[in-house]
Symmetry: C2
């Protein structure tokens, strides 16, 4: 009976199994589950289990993203000749990833042990950053000259297909200069007249391509918008360097989402699963932003210092400080998160900033008015029911809080919505804007707005 999701099998007894049992397990278990279980072992044990697998299964397991965090440690526990054979058999993009994680000295040693062609592939991939299209592409794609027929292409696929990362997209090249002229899905090849020319079924649309310098998020955007199974990575001369397949795109999306949430929450992004983050790594990545925010927030103490005399005269004002300034932070955090996603999805662009201001300004005023009414009501009700005594000028205090809320929430919405634009304009990723960052920004201004409004409304009575 199918369950909602396959429960991960219990593979905790992995280290006690004899090689024959491991072979059986490798044939009947999903590779991702096996990789997951091996990644939980100590590196030396993981290496022992891995190398006891049939070679094919070993390569497949080693290629799985589940094993990534452990991979560089594991490979150093594998006998060097076998390790070189393993790396040679890995797919190009995974191999490049592994080399990026190895210490420089180890890297050169392994590189020297590889066959020339593999070494050239790895050198090509390693010259691009790991989160670029060039860094995650694989050169194992099917390309054919444009004067072939579907029948010829299918025969060729039958011959070389097992070495390729995917055969579902076939890259049609100009027979002379080898430039990419079309991308053909295997489905169209299979359903077409076997004796026509592949160019006939390609259609007039130019192929969708990315440059090797495109970020993996750009690739994800292309693949997602145009429903591709792979994106060809093409150099300036129009030659295909490799392809990025949809499973890499999904991995990129999932890890990007994790980074995004962590950064919006106000810490640096973590690469490891939560339980595998070491204590010092945790402190380092969280303390950085936390301290920066703290130092920014110190300005609130400075701002408050300017109003110490007013607070001493009207202590009642201090009671509403957290209420007023947090509302600015909250509305700012809403606006920032909306704009971060709108920018990421290319729904708005930098030049749209003025249109955003013209939306957030009335929105902020309306939201501020709603909170202002709630705030005034809270103070007047408590005062009239005798739940708290806000002094002889309670009504004026209530209206000062209400008016300040309109100002603070409006400012929060504007500042929150503009922050991602400012960050992007400065050349950084707008997704670096975090909710705590906005709150800190708005807290200082919120205090100034609150006390200025209070001074205007309460001068001659309380102040």
């Amino acid at each position: 009976m199918p369950t909602t999701l396959v429960p991960p099998p219990d593979l905790s007894h992995l280290t006690t199994l004899p090689p024959a049992e491991l072979s059986r397990l490798a044939a009947t278990t999903q590779t991702a589950d096996l990789a997951d279980a091996i990644a939980r072992l100590r590196p030396a044990e993981a290496a022992r289990v891995l190398t006891a697998l049939p070679f094919d299964a070993m390569v497949r397991t080693f290629d799985e993203p589940e094993l990534w965090p452990a991979r560089a440690d594991v490979v150093t526990h594998i006998e060097p000749t076998l390790a070189a054979t393993l790396i040679t058999a890995m797919s190009g993009d995974e191999g490049a990833d592994l080399f990026r994680e190895l210490p420089a000295r180890e890297r050169d040693r392994y590189l020297a042990a590889l066959p020339e062609q593999k070494r050239a592939t790895l050198r090509l991939l390693l010259q691009y950053p790991e989160d670029s299209a060039g860094g995650i592409m694989t050169p194992a794609f099917v390309s054919v000259p444009s004067n072939w027929s579907p029948e010829q292409v299918l025969a060729y696929i039958r011959q070389v297909g097992h070495e390729k990362e995917t055969i579902y997209d076939v890259y049609v090249l100009d027979p002379e200069d080898h430039q990419l002229v079309a991308v053909l899905g295997l489905n169209r090849l299979l359903l077409a007249d076997p004796h026509c020319s592949v160019l006939d079924i390609a259609g007039p649309r130019p192929p969708l391509t990315v440059s090797p310098h495109a970020t993996r998020l750009d690739v994800a955007r292309l693949v997602s918008k145009y429903n591709l199974l792979a994106a060809p990575v093409v150099d300036e001369g129009g030659h295909v360097l490799g392809i990025v397949t949809v499973d890499d795109v999904i991995d990129a999306l999932v890890s990007e989402q994790t980074r995004q949430v962590q950064r919006l929450g106000g810490s640096e992004a973590f690469d490891e699963p939560y339980m595998q983050i070491t204590f010092w790594e945790m402190i380092r990545k969280r303390a950085g932003w936390l301290s920066a925010l703290f130092i920014g927030e110190m300005l609130t103490a400075t701002a408050m210092g300017h109003f110490e005399a007013e607070i001493a005269k009207a202590v009642v004002l201090s009671l509403f400080i957290p209420l007023v300034i947090s509302s600015g932070g909250n509305s700012g955090s809403q606006a920032t998160s909306l704009i971060i996603r709108a920018l990421a999805l290319r729904q708005v662009r930098l030049i749209d900033w003025w249109r955003i201001v013209m939306r957030e300004l009335p929105t902020g005023i309306a939201l501020g008015t709603i909170l202002g009414i709630l705030g005034v009501a809270r103070i007047l009700i408590w005062q009239h029911l005798g739940w708290y005594n806000y002094g002889p000028h309670a009504t004026l205090v209530a209206f000062a809080v209400g008016a300040a809320l309109i100002g603070v929430v409006t400012f929060g919405s504007l500042a929150g919505s503009m922050l991602p634009f400012v960050i992007k304009r400065l050349g950084f990723d707008p997704a670096s804007a975090s909710a705590p960052f906005v709150a800190t920004l708005v807290d200082v201004t919120g205090l100034v707005i609150y006390f200025t409004v209070a001074l205007v409304i309460l001068r001659g009575t309380l102040l």
Copy 2:
């Protein structure tokens, strides 16, 4: 020369083109770009342009996610018989989506105009929620009996392939009871001995399936972990109801990321692109959470009320209120975002809550100590350099602030990390926890911690 990303073509002149030009455009433009341009038109104009396209292009364009927000409005402007033909030609999952958006009265009218088989398909999909596997699956998959040979399967695919959503996964059924026994990639079919049995190449691994009630995120998790191109949706009897293809999974991941970021920022999730959200929708979805947070934050006024006498005696304490309580909110927001993702990625489970406490407790103490040292230094330096006079007991005030910071940040880390667990335990999505929510929760407690610590340290001097 390839650019990093294809610039979207300028299609603003769409409404002025004669039908022949539109046909040419449909053949040479990416369907997603065409859909994008049409979605920006007024519904009546969009309907006119759509129906002027060749029928195939019309169906493809109407199926594109880019057109979704406008689709229900556009279809009501299409002549009813043509609309019924269009809906019949749409893929099953897209059709179901469209019907979900139509007003109930319209829905029945269109449903009545459809051929019986299409109606049955739509009824099947519509009985599942729109974000479940059953709600986004398509019944257009290739299934074959397990006693066929690869050659027979390929011949069958050539015959029916053009009606199917994908032919890259073939579902192998038991010839007797039609239960799913294996899933075969087209690549393996193509590369196998054409005369063996498909069961021989399927291998012993049981097929990966989802129940129709699985969420689309569960499907995304399955597809992403096992690198699938489609996930079969299987009923309790083991029969395939439909498949969810990888492009739907990517759409689900992208829209889930948007919802996640918006909710973490403290508003309800929006379905429309930012610029298309109406003013009232914007107010409604933001005011709800903002008011709820405001009402929660009112407790800070109550808490502060209890300490009004202390503030009157030692106004200097009020200067550090925003600094101290915001630090708790910030550390809480970090912890919440980390745990939300760890739960979403199944890196931690509900039963792990105690292990999280044992990690966040020392982390919080360490982070609080770092901020405490910064806070003490800030006050003492300002005091000694004469930049501000915190009174005769400045050193004690500094240590009260420092000690409070340790307590507040530790509490923030604990509360922030436990909040997603509490929400999940109550049966809600842990991703509903937002940074402003955590900050609000921590603000009240932060005030109590701050003043309690101050009372202990300053009693007999300032208080």
